[in-house]
């Protein structure tokens, strides 16, 4: 029993860790990309492409990464396959479109008046960006939460490049899938509840933190 519990905790903790880091990693390029995109006059085409990639099948992405990381693949020498790092990379790529699309929508409304305002008060470009992010922080946070939730909830990448190895790369979704495969539906559902509880409580914690920081 206690062994089971410690296993569940282990998997939960690993999920939180990998997907949290993947989200943070993705922020590094997604937010700047969204910021730059929001300055473009005619961004319709790019918008459409990025929005369409929001739902890219995780199995497909997993497969592509697998072929890249596989020992006969271009990046095979990195020996990343079936490591938590591989999942991390895969998930950070996976959430990029949703992170860009949703934060772009928020930034776009704010960018043009506030960029001008920032310059009119003597701000540098970096300070202007900081102002714009600050003004759209609620939307950006929402966008980050959605991305985190997407990372936590995805299966394909974790399965294909993580390999669902017990005690090493098993995360909540791969554990759920295993439960389903083994016919242990109740266990799968319990893990699912844990997963949802995890993302919901993280989201609430972040929102509460935001509110506290503002006042």
């Amino acid at each position: 029993m206690s062994q089971l519990l410690s296993e569940v905790l282990d998997v939960t903790f690993r999920t939180l860790y990998i997907s949290g880091l993947a989200t943070v990693l993705s922020i590094l390029w997604s937010l700047p990309a969204a910021y730059l995109l929001s300055f473009r006059q005619r961004a319709g085409l790019l918008e459409a492409v990025v929005e369409s990639l929001v739902g890219i099948p995780t199995t497909l992405l997993g497969l592509l990464l697998f072929m890249l990381f596989s020992s006969s693949g271009i990046l095979g020498f990195l020996k990343l396959l079936y490591t938590p790092q591989a999942i991390l990379i895969g998930q950070s790529i996976l959430v990029t479109p949703i992170l860009i699309s949703t934060s772009y929508r928020v930034l776009r409304e704010v960018v043009s008046p506030y960029f001008e305002l920032a310059l009119s008060l003597g701000a540098s470009k970096i300070q202007a960006m900081a102002m714009i992010l600050r003004e759209s922080v609620a939307g950006i946070i929402a966008s980050i939460i959605m991305s985190f939730s997407r990372a936590v909830g995805e299966l394909g990448v974790a399965m294909m490049v993580g390999g669902n190895i017990k005690g090493f790369t098993r995360v909540l979704t791969t554990a759920i899938a295993l439960g389903v495969t083994r016919g242990e539906f109740e266990a799968a559902i319990i893990l699912g509840v844990i997963l949802l509880a995890l993302t919901i409580s993280t989201a609430i914690a972040v929102k509460v933190l935001m509110r506290l920081m503002r006042s």
């Binding site: 020992s71 006969s72 495969t181 016919g183």
Partner: protein, 274 residues
């Protein structure tokens, strides 16, 4: 985890074998003797497992489709391996058994009956359709029966793992070919109320299911050394395999090959010829 003193050995295995829990059980036993080795199982279909082996991402594979295995042996992907267990496929289907196969004693006859009853729209057959060992076996039986159900409306290709296929068959009240282990596990969990074993025959060599383990040529170094250990372990500790599941299901899920090695090997050769 401490990857520094542990050796990771990546083994690709068929889903059915992994889902029964046998492999985890074996890994625990193996770990007792080799505490610094970590066996990592990747459960996929036989077709995919062999493909991964070809890519060089597996160090060892455990599979059950002799004809496919032979191809990859000839391609030089695998080293000559060992047969470590076997069991028999079964046909499961609705209690009412519309095709009346339960009193037959030849799987080919059973498939023929299913075909004709299916043509009369009185039943359905659910196929794995995923190029797994079980799927290869099923296609082989159709071929032996000189029938081609592909495209028939009663022939459902629910391309998925064994579990999912059983669940689909249960819902559609249809027939399917299954390995005994997955079926018993799901049956015991109450997931398959509509399905019964309608054909099981441990003398019908057409439905023998032979599990082999291979070392992958591209696997080198420490990992290869311990993968070899594990294969050796499978060969030598057949007692564990034979007793697995006895207490839980009242019957063995896998039979050790030790005493019948010649016989089984001969069958393997016959099956691999396609």
């Amino acid at each position: 985890f401490s990857p520094f003193y542990e050796v990771r050995v990546r083994i690709f295995t068929t889903t059915s074998l992994y889902a029964t829990g046998l492999l985890d059980y074996l890994a625990d036993q193996f770990k007792k003797e080799n505490p610094t080795v970590k066996l990592e199982y990747m459960a996929v279909g036989t077709g995919a497992a062999l493909k991964y082996a070809e890519q060089g991402d597996a160090c060892a594979v455990i599979v059950h489709a002799p004809s496919l295995e032979k191809q990859y042996l000839e391609k030089g992907v695998l080293e000559p391996g060992i047969i470590f267990a076997y069991n028999f496929f079964i046909i499961v289907g609705p209690k009412t058994d519309p095709a009346e196969i339960s009193n037959l004693n030849n799987v080919i006859d059973a498939f023929k009956k299913i075909y004709s009853v299916g043509e009369a729209s009185k039943t359905v057959f659910v196929s794995r359709g995923d190029n797994s060992g079980t799927h290869v076996k099923e296609l082989d039986i159709w071929k032996r029966a000189n029938l081609n159900p592909a495209g028939k409306s009663w022939y459902k290709e629910a391309a998925a793992g064994m579990e999912q296929t059983l669940v689909v068959a249960n819902e559609l009240q249809g027939y399917t070919l299954s390995d005994i282990g997955t079926y018993l596990k799901f049956k015991k969990q109450g997931r398959l109320p509509n399905l019964e074993i309608l054909y099981a025959n441990s003398t019908d060599l057409n439905i023998i299911n032979i599990y082999s383990a291979y070392l992958v040529k591209k696997c080198l170094g420490e990992e290869r050394k311990y993968a070899e250990f594990f294969i050796r372990f499978l060969e030598n500790r057949q007692d564990i395999i034979g007793s697995f599941g006895l207490s839980e299901y009242g019957q063995s899920l896998f039979y050790p090959v030790k005493d019948k090695i010649q016989e089984v090997q001969a069958l393997w050769v016959k099956l691999s010829a396609g």
